[in-house]
Symmetry: C2
Subunit: 497 residues, 2 copies
């Protein structure tokens, strides 16, 4: 064609980013619509902020802070100010609320979905761009706001097709952890960094187990790759106090609350945390949400630094099988908590706030695994394809397409340069229900052939020989051009399309 | 509350970025759905690529190339490779098609909407993050593919409520411009940079007029701010040849084609361009799209460097009045063209491709201006608000909210800390249709008061005195708790909600 090219650019997605095709876009869209409807029923309203914020407005609250760029994609504006891609939807909401403080209703209930970006090492199921769907109540200090978010999350999961018993909203309170840290002497201003190390260690309980967390609370831990993570250097008694806290879940919420109360009896802040959990539990129970849905679990702390009170985690408790028959656990598909200090970064007074965030692709994967009808792949059907048998009559073929479209039938003209056989293959590839064929014979008679590809495929499977096929020409009808639309409609109706 | 804070972060959007509220999100969503339906009718299917690509995969094709970062937001990955936020949806599609070449049907018709980012000076109506909605046909060299995109754009605009006659699809062909440049001696390899200067100059015709463009084709131009832009340094005869090309629109497409053919009679490439436009015009006319919809206009060249053949621009031709009664012209709300070389950057052989891109926020602004029913602001109604008269009975109020939601009624508990008066104000602010009130009196009797805020507002306007109001208590009814849902439904029905 042309002379050999040099320096071809490699066509490849950046690591940790994905493309999505039509089926997934449609199914995820249906899921997002259902979440939206559920949230609106609870009085939340939509808001959207941009993907880019001033770096200082976002703050640094990510778990992965050891890396140089703290997990965030950043770049400098032409006036030297630093901009970042948002790493969650909470920090931008705090900026939005503070910037529009005067004009927003208070409390302010809002929801939003959008892409967030993490400058992290990509891995299986770990992406650098992914979608979150958040709901937040800003300006409400009451535990009723936290309880409502948990109940809304539970309702929403059920509406999406996840059965009661197949999920759990686990709740805990950062204030209780603060109380525990106070008790082991980590309460002071100068211990903030170590408190964070403890928090991050507990957050890894699920992945590393008790031994791994104990190592991180102590001298440190070497992982499989040989990388060493420095620990919090707690004395062993303190380590056991922390571990005892994470293990203080009992048979029901009332008993867990009792155990927690005993643990932090000497910390006013810890007791405050227990009281808040108790209030949430009572409000939820009054509405019929008991331990089978809202479970107090002290092992849940959440990795983000900005939480100040109740924290939530939505966990799927069933397991499914992957394509290879291996069991897969979905685990956490969302979480959140109270972040009373985040808006206060912008304003002289703190503003109480609480939120819940869904990891869209994780939830979607789970819904696919349980064959939720909401996202089940519908048999995809492509457009009717009008074949081009004679390039000199392109304009006429185009009018046939236009007639179909005018009747509301998805249709297209074959636009490539290939012959009949390749065109039929293309129509199969597009999963077309039928094709329109008009050679010179048909054109002279003012007719078209309509070939039913669905019935044709069935017939082809049943018919033994090539000769028999050619003689019968199954699933192909001849109609006048005037009757083309009616003929196509009949075929579509026959196949329930 | 706390001691005075220092170093507060300023809550502000970065320059050139915007937040969007519920009304706009809903209306734009309705518009996107309508575009999607229209494109699917034409056989296009959804695809999505991420916001981030390798910088080299995107290439540098933006008009604003004089700035150091060439209009693109870029950052380095931890393996030193450069990443960029996409500046359009075409370059990522080229990457996607090249990367998935084997598995995609050919020709490949696809559509996608998404945010794109430009590292440009923001200005009125000029944003650094904005949404585009693109449709592309890849793998079709035929002018029928270009014609189809133009017809689809026209159909789509009409479906969105823009009347025939209020828009124009203007088409031209880069090959004709190439022919003109060839004729004035700018055809060689070493003249690529100057050709680009000429292209960008013509692209500014709309904004700068003939004199400004002549200056840019010649020695250069000083703008109002005193900034000087270097010109193409063409001799005056060559300048007039270029201007004559841009002005060769005649009374109808056939006459314009004749004028263009005469202009580039000595350039094979130029003649090829004229033939392609002729083919597009014929195909469109065969389907009933004449000059009132598809107009050949040689002044349209499009600023992006990657176009190689036909280029399109969708222009709104009506003008509307803004809030201050000033006339506003909407001008171009989209455009596109053929980019046969873009995929060839990744592959040893070129792949023909053509696309059309809608500027979503511009189109939305236009639809608002003509009060298109699709995006017309519906009278927004908030949720039913259950007031909190007695904090000790929060759980009970919560159950009232739950009952309403279970009946499918949008409802919420007042979650703030304020008194009755502020709660009523909040409900007004949320545009609640009614509120539920239960003080200790009502609770003892197992009753609630339902206050109709819509009727109440009307009654308040009609009633003269405060005393009269208190005596009548209009629009407020007392019902048993069991009848609350029915009572609210009645009020909603009365107001058509």
């Amino acid at each position: 064609m042309t002379e050999a090219k040099q320096n071809l650019v490699k066509a490849r997605l950046p690591r940790g980013f994905v493309d999505r095709g039509a089926d997934e876009i449609g199914a995820v869209g249906a899921m997002l619509d259902a979440i939206r409807d559920s949230y609106e029923l609870f009085g939340f309203e939509a808001v959207e902020t941009p993907a880019v914020e001033y770096t200082e407005a976002l703050g640094k609250f990510l778990p992965d802070q050891d890396r140089p760029n703290a997990g965030v994609f950043s770049f400098q504006d032409d006036d030297e100010q630093w901009l970042s891609l948002r790493y969650d939807l909470t920090a931008p909401l705090a900026r939005y609320f503070a910037e529009n403080f005067e004009s927003l209703p208070k409390p302010y209930r809002s929801y939003r979905s959008g892409f967030v970006f993490r400058n992290e090492k990509p891995g299986p199921g770990r992406f650098r761009q992914f979608m979150q769907f958040d709901a937040d109540t800003v300006g409400a200090a009451s535990p009723a706001a936290d309880a409502e978010l948990c109940m809304m999350a539970a309702d929403t999961l059920e509406k999406l097709g996840i059965a009661r018993g197949d999920y759990l909203l686990k709740i805990n309170n950062r204030k209780i952890l603060d109380g525990v840290l106070d008790i082991i002497g980590l309460g002071g201003e100068d211990e903030a960094a170590r408190r964070l190390v403890v928090l991050r260690a507990i957050d890894k309980l699920d992945r590393l187990g008790g031994a791994g967390v104990r190592a991180l609370l102590g001298a440190g831990r070497k992982d499989e790759s040989g990388d060493f993570t420095k620990g919090a250097n707690l004395p062993s008694e303190a380590i056991e106090t922390v571990i005892a806290f994470t293990e203080s879940r009992r048979g029901n919420n009332a008993q867990t609350l009792e155990a927690l109360a005993a643990l932090v009896a000497h910390s006013p802040r810890g007791r405050e945390g227990v009281d808040e959990l108790k209030a949430i539990d009572e409000l939820a129970k009054a509405c019929g949400y008991n331990e089978c849905r809202l479970l107090i679990d002290p092992s849940v702390v959440r990795g983000l630094e900005y939480y100040t009170g109740p924290v939530f985690e939505a966990e799927l408790t069933f397991s499914a099988k992957d394509d290879k028959g291996q069991p897969i656990r979905f685990g956490s598909i969302g979480g959140g908590g109270r972040y009373d200090g985040l808006i206060g970064r912008f304003r002289s007074q703190d503003v109480p706030a609480t939120g819940f965030s869904i990891g869209v692709s994780r939830l979607f994967a789970a819904l696919k695994a349980i064959n939720s009808p909401l996202v089940a792949a519908k048999p995809h059907r492509g457009p009717v394809v009008v074949l081009v048998m004679d390039r000199d009559h392109l304009a006429h073929y185009q009018t046939l397409v236009a007639q179909l479209r005018e009747a509301g039938i998805r249709a297209e003209l074959y636009l490539g340069g290939a012959g009949m056989k390749a065109q039929m293959k293309y129509a199969d590839r597009r999963q077309s229900p039928c094709v329109i064929i008009q050679g010179s014979n048909e054109r002279e008679k003012g007719e078209v052939q309509i070939k039913d590809l669905i019935e044709g495929a069935q017939a082809a499977a049943a018919i033994a020989s090539n000769e028999e096929w050619k003689a019968a020409r199954p699933a192909q009808i001849s109609v006048s051009e005037d009757n083309m639309v009616a003929g196509v409609k009949e075929i579509l109706a026959r196949h329930g399309l």
